[in-house]
């Protein structure tokens, strides 16, 4: 018998799959490393690898030290952290809502956070810390509102998405009220937060996001083990001993906090969460815990888009515009694909 399934064959297949996942993850990491070095080396002036290495090692190199430590490194770190946050959030949302189109952008969660940030900047002139707290509060509030209004125990998506679009429209109206009537001097800062941009980020804006990532990623990773069980369907997951409700709440809460923190620092970088989820699953395969891979993919995406936005054209474009231009056509493609398949 040729096709007999033996336990050895299953183990062998499993082993092969794990090896290929490790290889792919390593590949993503290498890409991330290459992109990061590009971000440090390349710019108005191009530094050599040894110069960058010396600066990072703590030595003072005339000219290079300031550019790298004050400008390029914070920018790179912000891109890295925000990209990871958005990427992980995208994957988690997509899995929990069982719909590749569900993500914090479309559901209005990012809009909620940026609305709070804009009000903080234009009305209350608050410090960075208050902005971050407000963004997180608004993000969580939006999620609660979303699920409260959709009025369903299961997170069925059609209604959820429409309600998300409604919330988004509402937040946008509030945002445009404040940007039209706000103080002209505060406007550039507010617009920066609306478009998703890495300009003018300094190192002292980052520790909170950094700490949150360090704290929350292990949580997401741990519960992410169960995501693959959730992928099989809620009943199956429950029968395999997963506490579905608890898993969902913890995963949602952590990802919303991550998204809101990242939004407070860089503004909503459009479509990163939307792109990272499905594409990571495509690269890594549906099985397995893809949370880390999605984070790395998101970071790659943001760094690459920022490089393109800064240097590919005569004008410098904020990173959100570039990801928006990539993401919107992809959303449309996904839609066509989904409605062709019929079932969705």
């Amino acid at each position: 018998m040729k096709n007999e399934i033996t336990i050895e064959k299953i183990f062998a297949a499993r082993h092969r799959r794990q090896t290929s996942r490790r290889v792919k993850l390593g590949f993503l990491l290498v890409i991330l490393l290459i992109l990061s070095s590009c971000a440090l080396l390349y710019g108005q002036t191009i530094y050599s690898v040894s110069e960058v290495w010396q600066v990072l090692g703590g030595k003072f190199v005339a000219g290079a030290s300031f550019t790298i430590l004050e400008l390029r490194l914070p920018r790179l770190l912000a891109a890295l952290l925000a990209g990871m946050s958005f990427g992980i959030a995208g994957l988690v949302f997509q899995t929990l809502l069982r719909n590749p189109l569900a993500n914090p952008d479309i559901l209005g969660i990012s809009s909620g956070s940026s609305c709070a940030v804009v009000i903080c900047i234009l009305v209350f002139h608050t410090s960075q810390t208050v902005r971050i707290i407000a963004a997180v509060g608004a993000g969580i509030g939006t999620v609660l509102l979303l699920f409260g209004l959709s009025n369903q125990r299961s997170l069925a998506t059609t209604r959820l998405v429409i309600i998300g679009l409604g919330l988004q429209a509402f937040y946008n109206a509030v945002i445009s009220y404040f940007t039209v009537n706000g103080d002209q001097r505060d406007l550039p800062e507010a617009l920066r937060c609306l478009n998703g941009s890495l300009d003018g980020i300094s190192l002292n804006q980052l520790p909170l996001l950094d700490g949150a990532l360090l704290l929350l990623v292990p949580v997401i990773f741990y519960f992410g083990q169960r995501i693959q069980l959730l992928n099989l369907g809620e009943e199956v997951a429950r029968s395999l001993g997963v506490n579905v409700g608890q898993t969902k709440i913890i995963l949602l809460a952590t990802t919303v906090i991550l998204t809101a923190l990242a939004t407070a620092v860089t503004g909503p970088i459009a479509f990163v969460s939307f792109l990272a989820g499905p594409l990571t699953n495509k690269i890594m395969g549906q099985t397995g815990n893809n949370a880390l891979a999605a984070g790395i993919f998101g970071a790659c995406l943001v760094i690459a888009a920022d490089l393109v936005g800064q240097y590919a054209f005569v004008y410098r474009f904020p990173v959100g515009v570039i990801t928006g231009l990539i993401g919107a056509p992809y959303l449309i493609l996904q839609l066509i694909h989904l409605s062709k398949r019929g079932a969705g």
């Binding site: 309600i163 445009s176 515009v321 919107a328 062709k340």
Partner: protein
């Protein structure tokens, strides 16, 4: 006997509501002339209009401006109300508002390109450019939906959102490249009746009437289409022709209003649903009444926006979105939409 008495009560109720709406519209019109940052009494306005209509005073110029603005608001509201009915009937989707379908953003992108690269400034130029943009956006959205197999609520909405997000990225790029276009565009973009001008109204009226005639001509066909395209065909309705004409009329109305006032969201949605709630879903009936309700809503929103704050008025676009978004959410909660 029972049916006839039921019909009679319904007819009485409906004509009562129409009467009430007309009264409310008149009141809103009066309020929009009397009230503003500076309140003017009715007596003063009457004497001004009747006896001193050639006088050049500050007061008369204020009144002139407000009357133009009121007329402009009525036109925009009516146009958006009719556009809403047409879009909803053609797509057979209760949530299809021009703003949700991305038509406003398409028009925005073309207008910002016009401002930045071709230095457009007259009302006519705005209208033409916005109309092209609206057509492109609508073509994209319907094309996306047509490529799939089903026309369901969510696909249409998400196609609209996708197209709209793409255009808004492009808008940001144009603004960043052409900084000087930013100021002209920023105020246009929120949707306000403050930009009303006699010139704009002169451009608007013929387009409005033309589209309205087209829409009324399509109404019986649209009613038949509501029963399904097979039934419509058997009733001798050319489904494609009717849908295309209605769509074109809807886009023209929405594009004109958008070009002259800026993107004003949700009036189509609000007016159509309010009208349907009371008068049923017959397009023939809903069409004129939705125009009435749209005009009433927009004029009231404008008055409210002017009264809320002394220093800076809130643009109608913002008020209609603040009211419309919760209504959209409410409708989504009531709707039995198929899961995607």
């Amino acid at each position: 006997m029972k049916i006839s008495s039921y019909l009679k009560t319904r007819w009485q109720l409906q004509s009562g509501v129409v009467f009430l709406l007309v009264i409310l519209l008149l009141l809103a019109c009066l309020a929009s002339v009397f009230w503003g940052v500076k309140d003017i009494s009715g007596h003063k306005i009457l004497t001004l209009l009747l006896f001193h209509h050639n006088e050049q005073s500050l007061l008369s110029s204020i009144v002139d401006k407000r009357i133009v603005r009121m007329a402009f608001g009525l036109l925009c509201g009516a146009a958006l109300g009719v556009a809403g009915v047409l879009m909803q009937s053609v797509t057979r989707n209760p949530l299809a508002d021009p703003s949700i379908l991305g038509i406003n953003t398409g028009a925005s992108f073309f207008v910002v390109c016009g401002i930045a690269f071709f230095k457009i400034s007259t009302a006519g130029q705005y209208v033409i450019v916005a109309f092209i943009g609206a057509l492109v956006a609508a073509g994209l959205v319907f094309g996306i939906v047509a490529l799939g197999k089903r026309l369901d609520a969510l696909t249409l909405l998400l196609a609209g959102t996708g197209v709209s997000m793409m255009f808004s990225s492009l808008v940001t790029i144009v603004i960043l490249v052409k900084q000087e276009a930013m100021d002209q565009f920023r105020f246009w973009q929120v949707g306000s009746l403050g930009s009303a001008s006699v010139m704009g109204i002169k451009v608007f009226v013929p387009l409005f009437l033309l589209s309205l005639i087209l829409a009324v001509a399509c109404a019986p066909g649209l009613d038949a289409l509501m029963l399904g395209s097979e039934v419509a065909q058997s009733l001798g309705v050319n489904a494609v022709l009717i849908s295309l004409t209605a769509c074109l009329a809807g886009i023209a109305l929405c594009a004109t209003a958008t070009a002259l006032a800026g993107p004003i969201a949700f009036i189509g949605l609000l007016a159509t649903h309010f009208t349907r709630l009371i008068f049923g879903s017959e397009v023939k009936k809903v069409l004129p009444l939705s125009a009435l309700v749209g005009a009433l809503f927009l004029t009231s929103a404008d008055v409210i926006g002017r009264l809320v704050s002394d220093t800076a008025e809130i643009s109608v676009g913002i008020i209609t979105a603040l009211v419309g978004a919760p209504v959209l959410i409410f409708l989504a909660r009531r709707m039995k939409v198929r899961a995607l």
